[in-house]
């Protein structure tokens, strides 16, 4: 029991890393399955379309799934263009805010698609089929491929002898694919490192405060969930009892629609105040009924972890 608890604590502490690793492994596994079971290069003029559709369509679908699963997407979009906010919908401020939040969200959603493309390129089946369908790609890597007719090129993925002959003269399609794959992996890793460094450089808070902030965010979300469940249970009990006993309902304090709206705003950091979330700020400013509770603040992208860990309650 103790060991299980320790394992669980480890999992909870590194849950982000673990979840990304699991997603990558699942993507790599399904790519291998697709490549060996489902993929059969037609070896005719349809090679290019076939190969590229297997390479890019799953990546696109994984990107869309990545957006859908990320709770921040819905936090960003919910209620943005509702009829009463119509005037604010297309202001410069809203667009800038959108872009600032969209970039880290896209980066997170890109993990699975890029894993798919990288593993697919390393596996070489898809690219081989696609490249053999287009004389342009073939001539880019093999200057003296004038010996081969278009038909022979089409047949290359299905004919091992032919592709062996080609690889003796110049780089085979498989080798090209793997080179491109490694280049992609290396550039993604470097880009990830550089962007993380730059983000940390631009962080408005110090390292220890950032650590505390992350822990505060996750704790607040946890407690929000359990408080919401408690509150909902009490309200549901009151309503169903009153319905059945045909009595008048007792007074029940629940946050108003306005309160909810104000608390759902994306958090923006302000170095003059010391608030760790929108809820913190709202509660401290004493639920000021005036509409002055606007989003003021400069730094958004650095605080990507804030408003993040809400996948559990969003249900996806």
């Amino acid at each position: 029991m103790d060991r299980l608890q320790k394992v669980l604590d480890f999992c909870i502490r590194y849950q982000t890393t673990l979840s990304y690793s699991i997603v990558s492994m699942l993507t790599a596994g399904s790519e291998r399955i697709f490549s060996s079971v489902v993929f059969k290069c037609p070896c005719n003029s349809g090679n290019m379309l076939y190969g590229y559709s297997f390479l890019l369509a799953p990546a696109f679908v994984l990107l869309l799934l990545g957006y859908m699963v990320n709770a921040k997407t819905w936090r960003l979009f919910t209620g943005t263009c509702s009829p009463e906010k119509h005037l604010q919908c297309c202001s410069w401020r809203t667009c800038a805010r959108f872009c600032q939040v969209l970039v880290p969200m896209t980066a997170k959603a890109l993990v699975a698609p890029l894993t798919w493309i990288a593993v697919a390129l390393l596996g070489a089946n898809f690219y081989e089929c696609a490249a053999s369908g287009s004389s342009l790609t073939a001539s880019l890597f093999c200057k003296n491929n004038t010996n081969y007719s278009q038909d022979q090129l089409f047949q290359m993925p299905c004919d091992e002898e032919l592709s062996a002959k080609m690889s003796s003269a110049c780089l085979s399609f498989q080798a090209q694919s793997q080179l491109i794959g490694w280049f992609l992996i290396a550039s993604i890793m470097s880009a990830a490192l550089i962007s993380t460094c730059v983000t940390h450089c631009h962080s408005p808070v110090s390292y220890l405060q950032l650590q505390f902030w992350k822990i505060y965010s996750s704790k607040e979300h946890e407690l929000f969930e359990s408080k919401a469940k408690e509150h909902a249970t009490k309200l549901a009990e009151r309503n169903t009892n009153c319905f059945f006993e045909v009595t008048k309902p007792a007074e029940f304090h629940t946050p108003s629609n306005e309160d909810w709206k104000n608390v759902s705003i994306f958090y923006t950091f302000n170095s003059q105040e010391q608030y760790y979330s929108t809820l913190h700020k709202y509660v401290n400013t004493n639920r000021d009924k005036s509409t002055k509770f606007k989003e003021e603040g400069q730094h958004l992208t650095d605080l990507a972890f804030v408003d993040e860990t809400q996948t559990s309650v969003s249900g996806l």
């Binding site: 299980l4 909870i12 489902v38 559709s53 909902a232 249970t233 309200l235 549901a236």
Partner: protein, 309 residues
């Protein structure tokens, strides 16, 4: 015990994703079983009909099952013959189509999964299209093959044609490739459409994000509470009735909601921005019972939309 609770909570929180993955695996397994065990391409002029039936009938069956399993369907249709005004309330004719559209979108998930898996596999499409007698299509597929291709294409799926092996192999590969490309198109289009519709719906939501989350939790809890209270009252009432029957006594009064109260409580809920009610029962309890409520704003009801059957 704590550890198990944490693990259970982790899985319960992701139950939608787990549910969809399970459905996808089930679809894949079912499709494999069908294509290996039940599907035998006739390799005659009936190929086209046979292949299409195998492709679309399971999808239709899954759609119907989807309708059956969605509790909103029954909420919408129960009692509509007795009181048609329920479905078409005064001044709000489109309400029915709106709700029915939502139910249909939810029910379409399984059929689309079946179609994409079946198309990616390629067996059904290969059989169907090898039997298509459209001259333009035949021209496109057979254009650099021997003369026999036009007459014997339907035998290619069973390897019974008189074409040389390389040609029949290429024809099979071409048909499979077409099927798989079509399958990817279906998947990409569905994913894109569902993301766009969900985004649009979210954008126009009158409810803020956190309130929506609370609303979902409230709906789940209210459902649980209703079940419990049904059990409780049903037990009380049946105990009282049986006791009075056997002991030949006068029954004591038990207060239960009136017929009209049940009718009002069974209506589908629509959010109203000015009030703060989280369900029909909540609104009824706070405002008392009206006859038939006239002012019902029909907005995209995200809480009901995400209801798990």
């Amino acid at each position: 015990m704590d550890a198990f609770q944490t693990i259970l909570k982790f899985f319960m929180n992701r139950k939608t994703a787990i549910g969809y993955s399970f459905m996808a695996l089930l679809t894949m397994g079912g499709e494999r079983v069908f294509s290996l065990v039940a599907f035998r391409c006739p390799c005659s002029n009936e190929n086209f009909r046979y292949g299409l039936v195998f492709l679309f009938s399971p999808a239709l069956v899954l759609l119907v099952i989807g309708y059956f399993l969605n509790s909103k369907t029954w909420k919408l249709f129960t009692g509509c013959w007795v009181n048609p005004r329920k479905i078409f309330p005064r001044g709000n004719i489109c309400h029915f189509f709106y709700v029915f559209g939502q139910i249909t979108l939810n029910a379409l998930v399984a059929p689309v999964m079946w179609l994409s898996v079946a198309l990616l596999n390629g067996t059904f499409y290969e059989c169907a299209m090898s039997g298509l007698k459209n001259p333009a299509y035949l021209q496109a597929v057979c254009h650099s093959k021997s003369e026999n291709c036009f007459e014997e294409l339907h035998k290619v799926a069973c390897d019974k044609s008189s074409l040389p092996f390389s040609e029949s192999d290429e024809l099979k590969r071409t048909l499979q490739a077409q099927s798989q490309i079509l399958g990817w198109c279906v998947i990409v289009t569905t994913a894109l459409l569902s993301l766009l519709t969900t985004c649009c719906a979210s954008c126009q939501s009158k409810v803020s994000h956190l309130q929506l989350m609370f609303w979902r939790v409230y709906e789940g809890t209210e459902k649980e509470q209703l079940e419990q209270i049904f059990q409780l009252y049903a037990t009380k009432l049946s105990e009282r009735n049986l006791k009075c029957f056997f002991e030949n006594k006068e029954p004591e009064p038990i207060s239960l909601p009136a017929f009209q109260a049940w009718e009002d409580a069974s209506q589908l809920y629509s959010f109203s921005n000015s009030k703060q009610h989280y369900s029909t029962i909540h609104r009824l309890v706070e405002e008392g019972q009206k006859g038939t409520s006239e002012e019902r704003e029909t907005m995209m009801d995200l809480a009901d939309r995400r209801e798990v059957p």
